[in-house]
Chain length 241, copies 2
Amino acid sequence: MFTQHTVRSFDKELNRLSKEIAEMGTYAAHIVERSILAIMRDDQKLAKQVISDDIFLDVAERKIDEEAILIIARRQPMAVDLREIIGAIRISVDLERVGDMGKNIAKRTAVLSDVRQTAAFYHGLEDFAALALKQLNEVLDAYACRSLERIDAVREHDDEIDSMYTSLFRDLLTYMLEDPRNITVCTHLLFCAKNIERIGDHATNIAKTVHYVITGTYPALERPKDDQTYRLEIGKSRRIL
Amino acid sequence: MFTQHTVRSFDKELNRLSKEIAEMGTYAAHIVERSILAIMRDDQKLAKQVISDDIFLDVAERKIDEEAILIIARRQPMAVDLREIIGAIRISVDLERVGDMGKNIAKRTAVLSDVRQTAAFYHGLEDFAALALKQLNEVLDAYACRSLERIDAVREHDDEIDSMYTSLFRDLLTYMLEDPRNITVCTHLLFCAKNIERIGDHATNIAKTVHYVITGTYPALERPKDDQTYRLEIGKSRRIL
């Protein structure tokens, strides 16, 4: 009886950790969504709210960390249980950084407000954020049901993120080259785009961690990522330069 | 005798983990130094070498991770020993990302070669990288001697990184506004600067982890970081826009 009871409360602890990760993931995605909304709508109040709300993710990360370490010390778990706990620590780090990306985007709302441009400048960013958040949500779903198949499926979308980022980068660089008055706004939008690309990277990191939690091994070290923006000068700039 | 022997080999395992972190730190700093050298000297061969060498950090991170988990499973450590091991896992994540920053910088060498500018464009980046690497090395030294005083001292330098980044950002934006032919080169240099700023962030993360390893608590959640670049439009662009 005692052992069974002990096992049961251990399971409860692990389930709580999982649930906290899920909540943290939902909150991180929410921070990013609202940061994009703040930029789209030029909503300074919302931007400020997002910037201050990010602290909840810092607190959640520490809480998960402390709980995880307490569980290890108290339960001395082996194999898959230990992987669950180490996995929770790693995923919480990535989710906290996703929140930071949202906060960084929200911080640019103020300066973007001063140099407001037509809606066309921002749509690419909105679509790109939607794609990155879709990937994050898929990876969190795959974590929730510990599904290896779904994790592998998510990782196949990395290329979509890469190509959308390249296209957005090219568009923004083109706007800058067309008219120097676009430089400030586009520079800040480029950094927003980079932040969103990094959300995709964090989703990929989480996918790798989930793979490890399930199987005990990390996926093979991947092909070098083909980020075309490192070669981007685009036709137009080549002509000008 | 047996117990003593067991303890001794446990200590050996922990020391090896520490040593591997130190080596990983040295290698990560080396990757970044060489990436900056590649940009300064327009050295494509060196850039390619840096990009391919980054894999060693991915491998090192996984090795440390696997060893750490094996030690936890085998030794079931408590308190400070457990913190040492969790600390090693966290620090290796940050060091792997520092290497990624170096790789990202190296990747821009090719496009920067096509739009080569006078040396003045690159000096700010070189000085900024030197400052970030100084901070990283200090934090690694503080980790090596588990010194709380030195860790707190390192964290006070965060402001220097912030202000140097703001100044570099302003200079690059000014070059762009002065002459549209500078846009491509400055956009890529801005991303390099952002990568270096993130090396500073990783050094700060490591400092927090070392604080945790030594004391069992994380430092208080800090003041919101005062990154002036989020407000940067600079005088010149205000006039133009």
